[in-house]
Symmetry: C2
Subunit: 142 residues, 2 copies
């Protein structure tokens, strides 16, 4: 038991992200990240789809991810992929062709998180107009 919040046994539910000392706060910090959300959504098949296509999870190459996330630098992309691999959310597969081919694919754990972050991206897109309207009003009365 390293830094749990309580001693309720090994059956989980003992973490509390509100506590500064709890590791789940650091995890939340990792997950609540623009590039993490977009990488997961890309591997979930959400990018470049017609609105009616079901968006099935798929393996993607490094260069494909770099293209789909149009604003990302290779440094941020690599860094994000490494941390997600370390946390067990995706797998990195090197195919020794020449030149090398590297593919990334969501694990079951990553798929379970995909369901959450996908809704976050959808929310951002679908409520963009509301937010923009509120901002205008807020900035106007200042």
């Amino acid at each position: 038991m390293t830094t749990r919040t309580e001693e309720t046994g090994p059956s989980g539910a003992a973490y509390n992200a509100f506590l500064a000392v709890c590791p789940s706060l650091m995890l939340l910090d990792r997950l609540a990240n623009k590039w993490v959300v977009l990488v997961l959504c890309a591997l979930g098949g959400d990018a470049e789809k017609a609105p009616d296509v079901p968006a099935a999870p798929t393996a993607l190459r490094y260069s494909e991810l770099a293209r789909l996330l149009s604003g990302v630098s290779q440094k941020m992309l690599t860094q994000t992929l490494r941390s997600l691999e370390r946390d067990g959310l995706l797998t990195r597969t090197v195919v020794p062709t020449v030149p090398v081919t590297v593919t990334y694919e969501l694990t079951d754990l990553g798929l379970s998180l995909l369901g959450v972050v996908r809704r976050l991206r959808e929310w951002a897109q679908s409520h963009m107009d509301d937010v923009l309207a509120h901002r205008e009003k807020y900035d106007a009365r200042a």
Copy 2:
């Protein structure tokens, strides 16, 4: 039509967070933030509850928020609250007692986002052990 991705009319769904030029990417950057998640969850009533309490949304004072988010600095808290107010996710109410009392409460828009970020925090807490286990394995083989 400022920076939409397509011209599909004024009925929304035209934003695409994968595009670097799209404002929804910036919005996602705002929302995908540790303190945003925790402030919303706190105002959603998720903090300091017994596991079986339903967690109903509630108005909170500045000092209460500061106490619930144990690791936050007043600067980050104020900054987070301001941006959320500007985006129309919460309301700031000043009661002219002496000394002043300021309460924050989620708007309907904020409540709809609460449903999303709440799941993100829950995921982080409930899958903490899985992630920790993967990290150990990853670090061991390096």
